[in-house]
C-alpha cells in the first residue's frame, strides 16, 4: 500500500513517453516569431538533406532552450551571440566569436558561423509620441521620467538588459512593468505603455509605425544569429545546417518575419527563404501547398488529439494514484492530513511555476512527460479529497453495520464503502478532468503541443483569431468532458443512491 502510488506512476510515465516520443533531429525555438521562422528554416534544410526533423516551436526562453540542448532533449536551436556571452556563458565583458565558440565546445555544443543578420535589442516608441516629445535617442529618455516603460520579463532580468541599461543611461522612470512581448505591442498602441523593448528585425516595428530609439552610448552588444547544435549531431546534419551561414541579412529576416506575422504560417514564411534557390536548384519542380503547411482541420485534429492524450493520460494517473491515496487519507490520523496537505500545496503552485520546477529535473525536461506529470499533480487534489470526504461522510451507523455483519475489510471497501462514496469520487474525477482539459493548454509552453499551441502563437502574434482557434475548441472540449462525466454518473453511481 505504501509503495502503491510510486510503483504506479513510473511504469505509466515510461509507457507514455515510449510512444509519444520519436527520435528525429529535434529543433527547438524560443517563443517569438523570428525564432519560429529560423527553426522552420533549419527543419526544411535538414529535411531537404534527407533527415527526419522535428520542430518544437516556442519552447520558452534562453535558459529552457539551453538546458534542453545541453541535456540532449533538442539537437539544434537558433541563438544570438550576445545572448550566448551574457546569458549562457555569464560573461560581463564582451567575447569574441572564437572565445564564445571555445567556451561552448567545453559544454559539448557547437556553433555555426553567423547567419548574416544582427538582431540586437532596441527600445521602441510610437512614432508620433516620440516626435511630439522630441525623443530620438535612449539618452533623451532621461528628460522624460514620466514615460511608462513596459518590458518583457526576460529583458527585465537579463544581465545585458534593463538594469545595466538604465544605469549606463542614468534613466530613472517612474513606472517600469513586466509584460508579455506580444501583448506589449498592444499596450504600446493603446498608450498604456510608452516605451518597450524589441528586436531590431521585428516586423512589428514597421507594421505598427514605431521608431527605434538610437543606442547613442552603444550599450547593446552584437546579437548575430547563429545555430547552436550538439556535437552528437551527425556530421551530415551539421553540414546541411552550415549551408545557412551568411545567407540571411537583416532585410531578408525582417521580410520573413513580416510574412510569418501576416500569414500566421511559419512554415510558409520559412519556405520563402528557399524559393529562389529551390526554383533554380530543382528546376521549378512543383510542390503542393500541403508540403508547406497543414490545413486547419488537420491542425485542429492534431492539436485536439494531443490535448486529449495529455489530459487523458494525466487523468488516468490521477485516478490510479488518487483513489488509493484518498482511501488512505480517509482513515484520518497524521498520514491522512499529510496526504491532503501535500496535494493541497501542489494545487497552490501556479501551473507555470510547476512546469518550470519540473523542467530542470533529470527525468522530465522539455517533454510530454513533464506536461503529463504536472497535469497529474494538479488532478490529484480533487480526486484525493473527494475520495476521502466521500468515505468519511458515510454515516457511522452504516459503517458499523458493515463491521457488525462480519464483512472482511476488503469486502466492506469494495461492496459498501466505495459504492456509497461513488458520487463523491466521480465528482472529484470530473473536476480533475475539466481542470486538466483547461490546464493542458499550458503544455504548449514546453513544446508538448495540444490546443495551447495556437493560443500561444496567437498570443505571440497578437492575433485574436489564432488564439480563438485554440481557446474555443478547448472550451468545447471542457464542456464535452463535463457532459461525458454526467453521463457516466448515471452508469456508475448505484441506482439506490440516485433516488
Amino acid at each position: 500500500m505504501r509503495l502503491l502510488p510510486f510503483s504506479c506512476v513510473l511504469p505509466f510515465l515510461i509507457f507514455i513517453s515510449g510512444f509519444l516520443y520519436a527520435e528525429p533531429v529535434v529543433i527547438g525555438s524560443k517563443k517569438f516569431t523570428e525564432s519560429y521562422v529560423l527553426g522552420e528554416i533549419a527543419k526544411r534544410r535538414l529535411s531537404d538533406a534527407g533527415f527526419s526533423a522535428d520542430h518544437r516551436q516556442g519552447m520558452g526562453g534562453t535558459i529552457i532552450l539551453w538546458e534542453a540542448l545541453r541535456t540532449g532533449q533538442i539537437d539544434v536551436y537558433p541563438e544570438y551571440t550576445g545572448t550566448i556571452a551574457q546569458e549562457i556563458l555569464k560573461r560581463s565583458e564582451p567575447l569574441t566569436f572564437e572565445q564564445a565558440a571555445n567556451e561552448l565546445r567545453k559544454a559539448g555544443i557547437g556553433m555555426t558561423e553567423p547567419l548574416g543578420f544582427n538582431n540586437t535589442y532596441a527600445l521602441v516608441m510610437r512614432r508620433n509620441r516620440a516626435n511630439a516629445l522630441g525623443v530620438r535617442t535612449i539618452s533623451d529618455l532621461q528628460k522624460h521620467p514620466e514615460l511608462k516603460i513596459g518590458l518583457t520579463h526576460e529583458f527585465l532580468d537579463r544581465q545585458d538588459g534593463w538594469r545595466p541599461l538604465a544605469q549606463q543611461y542614468q534613466l530613472n522612470p517612474r513606472s517600469v512593468l513586466g509584460i508579455d512581448h506580444a501583448l506589449g505591442y498592444a499596450a504600446l498602441n493603446n498608450g498604456s505603455v510608452d516605451v518597450k523593448d524589441a528586436y531590431s528585425t521585428d516586423a512589428k516595428i514597421s507594421e505598427n509605425n514605431l521608431v527605434v530609439l538610437e543606442d547613442d552610448q552603444r550599450f547593446f552588444p552584437q546579437y548575430q544569429a547563429v545555430f547552436l547544435f550538439r556535437f552528437a549531431l551527425s556530421e551530415e546534419a551539421v553540414t546541411a545546417l552550415r549551408k545557412l551561414e551568411g545567407t540571411i541579412d537583416e532585410e531578408r529576416m525582417t521580410r520573413l518575419n513580416a510574412e510569418a506575422e501576416r500569414t500566421k504560417n511559419y512554415t510558409r514564411a520559412a519556405s520563402l527563404y528557399f524559393e529562389p534557390e529551390a526554383a533554380s536548384a530543382l528546376g521549378g519542380r512543383v510542390r503542393s501547398t500541403s508540403a508547406f503547411g497543414e490545413d486547419f482541420p488537420h491542425k485542429l485534429a492534431r492539436w485536439t488529439v494531443r490535448h486529449l492524450e495529455l489530459a487523458g493520460f494525466s487523468l488516468l494517473l490521477s485516478i490510479v494514484v488518487g483513489v488509493p491515496l484518498g482511501i488512505w487519507a480517509s482513515r484520518g490520523r497524521a498520514i491522512g492530513h499529510a496526504i491532503l496537505g501535500f496535494t493541497g500545496v501542489v494545487q497552490t503552485i501556479p501551473s507555470l511555476a510547476l512546469l518550470a520546477l519540473l523542467v530542470p529535473l533529470p527525468f522530465f525536461g522539455i517533454s510530454v512527460r513533464t506536461a503529463i506529470a504536472a497535469l497529474f499533480l494538479y488532478g490529484l487534489l480533487p480526486i484525493v479529497r473527494n475520495t476521502a470526504t466521500g468515505l468519511q461522510d458515510i454515516p457511522r451507523g452504516l459503517r458499523e453495520s458493515a463491521v457488525a455483519l462480519g464483512l472482511s475489510a476488503r469486502a466492506s471497501l469494495w461492496q459498501i464503502y466505495l459504492p456509497m462514496a461513488s458520487r463523491s469520487i466521480l465528482g472529484g474525477i470530473k473536476t480533475s478532468a475539466v481542470i486538466n482539459v483547461g490546464t493542458a493548454t499550458l503544455a504548449a509552453l514546453i513544446g508538448a503541443g495540444g490546443l495551447g499551441e495556437p493560443i500561444l502563437s496567437g498570443l505571440n502574434l497578437n492575433d485574436h483569431a489564432t488564439i480563438l482557434q485554440g481557446a474555443i475548441p478547448a472550451a468545447i472540449l471542457a464542456l464535452l468532458v463535463q457532459w461525458f462525466f454526467d453521463l457516466l454518473d448515471r452508469i456508475l453511481i448505484p441506482k439506490g443512491l440516485r433516488l
Partner: protein
C-alpha cells in the same frame, strides 16, 4: 450456568467519563433481555461492546463460553444479528441485496438463500414483491423489517437490537412490537434489546435490566421493579414513565 453471553466486570471509559462501570451480566439462552434507562446510561455501549464495535478497557466478555478477542470477533459477529434504530441498510443495495449480502459473501448456495429469504418474508410479514426496492423506496417500518431479516439471515444465536423501533410512528411501532414478540417466541431467539420505553420493555422482555450512569441499578421483572425498587432512582424512573402512560 447456561448463559450465551457473559459480561464479567466490564468497564469502558470515553475520555474521563465512564460509559459503563464494572458490569456483570448474563444473557440466558432463548430469553429476551431488555436494557432500559435514561439516555447516556451506557445501554447502547453494552451492545456495541458485545458486537466488538468497541473494545472494553477491563473485564471480559464471553460468547458461548469463548472470550471475545480481536482474532475471533468476525467469527462471533456471524453468529450475532445486529439491528439499529435507523436500520443501517445500505442505500445502494436493494432490500434483497441487503439481506443476502453476508450469505453471498460466505458463498452460500442460491437455492438455500432463496428458501431462507422466503421464510424470513413470511416471518416478518414483509411483502416479497418489495424485495427489489431500495431502502429509500421503503417506509420506516418496512426498512426495520428488512433490517431484521438481514440480522436473522444467518440464523444467529444472538440478536442485538438497539432501539429498533425508536424512530417509528406509534401505529407502526405497535404492529412491529407485536410481530417482534411473535418472532422471538417462534424462533426461541436469544435477544438483547435496548429501549427507553418501559411499556415496550415490559411487553417484549422476559427480564428487564435498568441502568443508570454506567451501572446496573436493578434486574428483574417489571413487577419486581415496581413493587421492590432497589432505590429512589428506580421508583422515580418507573413513576415518570407510568404517569406518561396514564395521560
Amino acid at each position: 450456568m447456561n448463559a450465551l453471553v457473559q459480561l464479567l466486570g466490564v468497564s469502558k471509559t470515553f475520555g474521563d467519563a465512564p460509559a459503563v462501570h464494572t458490569i456483570d451480566l448474563s444473557v440466558g439462552r432463548g430469553k429476551t433481555m431488555v436494557l432500559i434507562g435514561p439516555s447516556g446510561c451506557g445501554k447502547s455501549t453494552l451492545l456495541r461492546l458485545i458486537i466488538g464495535l468497541l473494545e472494553s478497557d477491563s473485564g471480559e466478555i464471553r460468547f458461548d463460553g469463548t472470550q471475545l478477542r480481536a482474532d475471533n470477533i468476525d467469527f462471533v459477529r456471524r453468529r450475532v444479528g445486529y439491528v439499529i434504530q435507523e436500520g443501517g441498510l445500505f442505500p445502494h443495495l436493494t432490500a434483497r441485496g441487503n439481506i443476502l449480502l453476508m450469505a453471498r459473501h460466505l458463498g452460500r448456495g442460491q437455492n438455500e438463500m432463496l428458501a431462507r429469504l422466503g421464510d424470513l418474508c413470511g416471518l416478518t410479514r414483509f411483502p416479497e414483491n418489495l424485495l427489489g426496492r431500495y431502502p429509500l423506496e421503503l417506509s420506516g417500518g418496512q426498512r426495520q423489517r428488512v433490517s431484521l431479516m438481514r440480522a436473522l439471515m444467518l440464523s444467529p444465536e444472538l440478536l442485538l437490537l438497539d432501539e429498533p423501533l425508536g424512530a417509528l410512528d406509534p401505529l407502526v411501532r405497535a404492529a412491529l412490537q407485536k410481530d417482534l414478540k411473535e418472532i422471538f417466541a417462534r424462533l426461541q431467539q436469544t435477544a438483547l434489546l435496548v429501549t427507553h420505553d418501559l411499556a415496550e420493555a415490559a411487553y417484549l422482555g422476559d427480564e428487564i435490566v435498568l441502568m443508570n450512569e454506567g451501572r446496573i441499578v436493578q434486574q428483574g421483572s417489571l413487577v419486581d421493579l415496581r413493587e421492590r425498587p432497589a432505590n429512589n432512582f428506580v421508583s422515580d424512573f418507573i413513576n415518570a414513565q407510568q404517569s406518561l402512560t396514564v395521560i
